[in-house]
């Protein structure tokens, strides 16, 4: 008796489309993946929509509109397993930089008629709204990690994804430390692994695409940067990047804000 193919859905919220593109970028594996699973809902790739429920939903993007704050609950209800993919879905993304400002002041800088826009004050991760079974980090995610997570959930096992820091990846590759050797500020000691220490390999400091690792010592790292002559505004900007609204990075960037001067 033929067994039913598991149904996969891909959902997009506020994002750049890069993480779901990672699935189409699995050129060597795509047709094999499509043979093993039923790609039931993937608007970026197909017009065809198979109704839910879905065995696995991949969710890209952050929640930034009242409509999306409703829609994510529908996605959750129709999904057995919900996996959020990428920095937008797991931390609010680069667009969460607006969480540090008043969106009512930002909108007129881009749009002539801000009253046409229906938006929330903050860009928030999926887990702030619904239960998330697994969070896959990265900006973008690693396509190899995506295949591993899909494989794991479709076969009822835990994904094998390293949770150490980028710093460890650098050491295991034998890359010269850009901070020690050149004094270049690098988020490697506090950033979650997954990229293969890409930036240090390219002779630059990590800028934290994969967000914070578990229990990062951000204050200590900020101290090292300061010792190398990095001033507070630069430390603030260093932590306030792709994963600005991830809790440890948010707290560290706020610690380097200019003290309130009392002036307007």
């Amino acid at each position: 008796m033929p067994t039913r193919k598991p149904k996969l859905a891909v959902w997009k919220f506020s994002s750049c489309d890069g993480c779901q593109l990672s699935l189409l970028d699995c050129e060597d594996e795509l047709l094999a993946v499509a043979a093993g699973i039923d790609i039931a809902n993937f608007p970026e790739a197909s017009r065809a929509v198979v109704k839910g429920p879905y065995d696995v939903s991949l969710v890209e993007g952050s929640i930034t509109t009242p409509h999306d704050a409703e829609r994510i609950h529908q996605v959750r209800r129709s999904s057995k397993v919900l996996i959020s993919i990428g920095a937008c879905a797991t931390a609010g993304g680069i667009q969460a930089l607006r969480n540090f400002a008043d969106v009512r002041e930002l909108a007129p800088m881009v749009y002539a008629n801000p009253s046409y826009l229906e938006i929330l004050g903050k860009s928030t991760p999926i887990a702030d709204h619904v239960f998330v079974d697994y969070e896959l980090r990265g900006c973008p995610i690693s396509k190899h990690q995506l295949l591993e997570v899909l494989n794991a959930y479709l076969n009822g096992r835990k994904p094998v994804i390293a949770s150490h820091s980028v710093c460890i990846e650098c050491k295991s590759k034998g890359v010269t430390c850009v901070t020690v050797a050149q004094g270049t500020p690098c988020l490697g000691p506090v950033a979650h692994a997954g990229c293969g220490a890409l930036c240090p390999t390219f002779n630059r400091g990590c800028y934290g695409c994969f967000g914070p690792m578990e229990t990062p010592n951000t204050a200590s790292l900020a101290g090292v940067w300061a010792w190398h002559g990095v001033d507070d505004p630069r430390i603030l900007r260093g932590f306030r990047g792709i994963n600005a609204y991830a809790e440890p990075f948010r707290r560290e960037s706020e610690a380097h804000e200019a003290p309130y001067s009392g002036e307007q």
Binding site: E27, A34, A48, T65, I94, L106, V110, R237
Partner: protein, 429 residues
Amino acid sequence: MRTRTIKVDYLARVEGEGALYVKVHDGVVDDVRLKIFEPPRFFEALLRGREYSEAPDITARICGICPVAYQIGATHAMENALGVSVDPQVRALRRLLYCGEWIESHVLHVAMLHAPDFLGYQDAIAMAGDHPDIVQTALRLKKLGNDIMTTIGGREIHPVSVRIGGFYKVPERRDLVEYLPRLATAREEALALVRFTATLPFPDFEQDYLFVALHHPDEYAITEGRLISSRGLDIGLDEYDRHFTEEHVRHSNALHSSTSDGDNYMVGPLARFALNYDQLSPLARQAATEAGLDRVCRNPFKSIIVRAVETLYAIEEAERIIGEYVKPEHASVAVTPRAGTGYGCTEAPRGICYHRYRLDDGGLITDAKIVPPTSQNQKTIESDLRAFVPQYLDLDNDMLTWRCEQAVRNYDPCISCATHFLRLEVVRD
């Protein structure tokens, strides 16, 4: 009196979220609205107060499909503001990185997003059942584009190597020379892709477009040039704001561009092909002629042929650049922050992408303006539909809707970029 409404609530096989609404009354199209509900992300506002050096990595996040367009556009604008000129090999390497993005993005659209419309498939995976050779060839070509980007930039999506003044790290000559045998094979495969696109059934539909593209005296413009049009415009990038305007309409989170006279215009493959035809390689021109294209193509459905021709060209360019590559002595030149305004514009796969930044004397961004290609094409997409729908009113709603979607996909619209895209709604009474 009959009114029909065609609605597509969530347009598929495009990058981003959009909808289409078409209202037909007594055989006349009353209203066409390309609705973009992709949420606004406020990039131009978020860039204020950031350092000039951060712009390439931040703006790359506007689009996962064409991050290099944003990185190079932002980098050139900053270098313009800061008076930096780069090594000729650095310039060539940026063009090579961009060729990788053209190959990856064009092949994705030609074979996986657009061709299924012509052949009546829901997606490329269904198409692969009957046309395995085309889909497998496309996947190989796409991988080649991505691999070139990965060699130069570290990864295909949001590469990390581009910096103001050059690159953080440049590849060794041997790392690039390795690609030459694959590129030679890819050249033949791209020729086959052009021939395949020429066999597709095309609607008889032409429009008198105002084409706008970059033009460079020495090459088929990709990374730099002056802005020219099919009506004789020839301006420097610093004059863009005087000739083109953006308007915020209620049904779209993407600003609509038009000329300062209020006319819509077209950017992208058809515009580049029409304006820079003579600068294509002899092989690309010959392939275009054999595919039945004249020097100027005004049928937007045939943009799929032009994308395949440009893929062929990008492969030949990659071969040329690699053949001439000598690793530059310095990956980058020193940059000193200063106050100023800088302009950058490149040919993203979907058309020109314009950047303007103002910097303070410490190198912090005080003002940013970014105009992506899909914003510029929005009004033209709507005007195409207004002209196109009346020819097909005998179709039932499902087929008419599909035809409208196909007409929108002619533009390979990137809604993520344009808000920075599409559901179709056709109303007929």
